[in-house]
């Protein structure tokens, strides 16, 4: 089970509203390489990991991804919350407003709603962990794209933090992959 801690993993305090950035950033919430997909991917794959080490790592990274969903959601919320209708229209978020008002909704940057089809589970640990490694690299690349699109230090700070987390997660998945490759040679 999970227990809520009433704090973010990393502080987010965005003073300047910026709908343009909010519109891009949402992809790390509900896009194919976003944090929601990451959390579900690992937490769903963990049941069929072949040993306790893999179960621990996927549980713990999946749990951290839930905290990243909260960081990204917080950023979007803070970037959008004081926007007037006129500003929403100008930023092209009138379509978002029509469906969701000022509420959050997990989509990619093009407004395509989140779908569980963004990830796979094969039940083959090497195949699943390979996907996880690729997912971390893709998320890192998207964070870099987002960093290229903003100059607000309040936005850059959390994006840099989250980008480092992708690097750490990739490294741990890779270590697990290499270990399984050796351990289950000829058996997988």
């Amino acid at each position: 089970m999970w227990k809520y801690i009433k704090t973010l993993e990393y502080p987010v305090n965005i003073k300047k509203k910026d709908l343009r950035i909010a519109k891009y950033l949402v992809t790390q919430y509900g896009g194919s390489n976003g944090e929601l997909a990451a959390a579900f991917r690992y937490l769903n794959q963990r049941y069929t990991m072949p040993d306790d080490k893999g179960k621990a790592l996927l549980t713990d990274i999946g749990t951290e991804e839930l905290a990243h969903v909260e960081i990204i959601s917080t950023m979007i919320y803070q970037l959008m919350k004081d926007a007037t209708l006129d500003e929403l229209k100008k930023a092209g978020l009138d379509t978002h407003y029509a469906e969701h008002g000022r509420a959050l909704y997990p989509t990619d940057a093009n407004g395509v709603p989140f779908t569980i089809a963004y990830f796979a589970t094969t039940g083959d640990p090497l195949a699943d962990i390979s996907e996880d490694m690729a997912a971390e690299q893709k998320a890192r690349a998207v964070y870099e794209n987002l960093l290229d699109l903003t100059d607000d230090p309040d936005v850059i700070g959390p994006l840099l933090f989250l980008r480092q987390r992708e690097i750490i997660h990739f490294t741990r998945f890779k270590e697990l992959y290499n270990e399984y490759k050796k351990k289950y040679k000829n058996k997988m």
Binding site: K6, Y10, I14, R165
Partner: protein, 162 residues
């Protein structure tokens, strides 16, 4: 020692005359050991694990895994209030524990890393108790709700802190 003294001490404000009785406190090694900057990390095998302060800023506790993007430096973390400053210290230890946890999942026999994990855990627990006494619960099983329900009586993490 009251909370403010403790808090100022943790944040290194002692040389700014925040503390009336600094001599007595400097002798108190328990408090010193809680200061992130004084944490002994040198017994780490390859000296690869950096300070909690720097690691939290970076989002990465491991020197050899840190990878900069286009020379962008981690944001300097500043707090706007005593509450936020105290909370940031807790978040710092919390983060260090998350990163070490993932490492220990892969390398459960690294006793140095385990020792560090437990140091951060103890520091976080102590700071959390002090924070919760003053600002309310961070988790629902906090013991500060003995007489009053306080869960909904403090800012939610997604609200901008002024």
């Amino acid at each position: 020692m009251n909370f403010n003294d403790y808090y100022n001490y943790l944040n290194g404000y002692n040389d700014m005359n925040y503390m009336p009785n600094s001599n007595q406190m400097i002798e108190d090694l328990n408090y010193q050991s809680l200061m992130p900057n004084n944490m002994n990390t040198s017994n780490n095998q390859n000296n690869n694990i950096i300070s909690t302060e720097e690691g939290f800023k970076r989002g990465n506790m491991f020197k050899n895994l840190y990878d900069e993007y286009k020379n962008l430096k981690p944001r300097k973390l500043t707090a706007n209030s005593e509450r936020e400053d105290m909370l940031m210290q807790i978040m710092e230890y919390n983060f260090a524990m998350i990163d070490l946890q993932l490492y220990l999942d892969m390398y459960p026999n690294d006793k140095d890393a385990l020792k560090l994990f437990n140091t951060y855990l103890n520091n976080k627990k102590e700071l959390t108790n002090m924070f919760e006494e003053k600002y309310g619960p961070l988790t629902i099983d906090s013991e500060v709700q003995r007489n009053n329900w306080l869960w909904d009586n403090s800012p939610w993490p997604w609200e901008v802190q002024k």
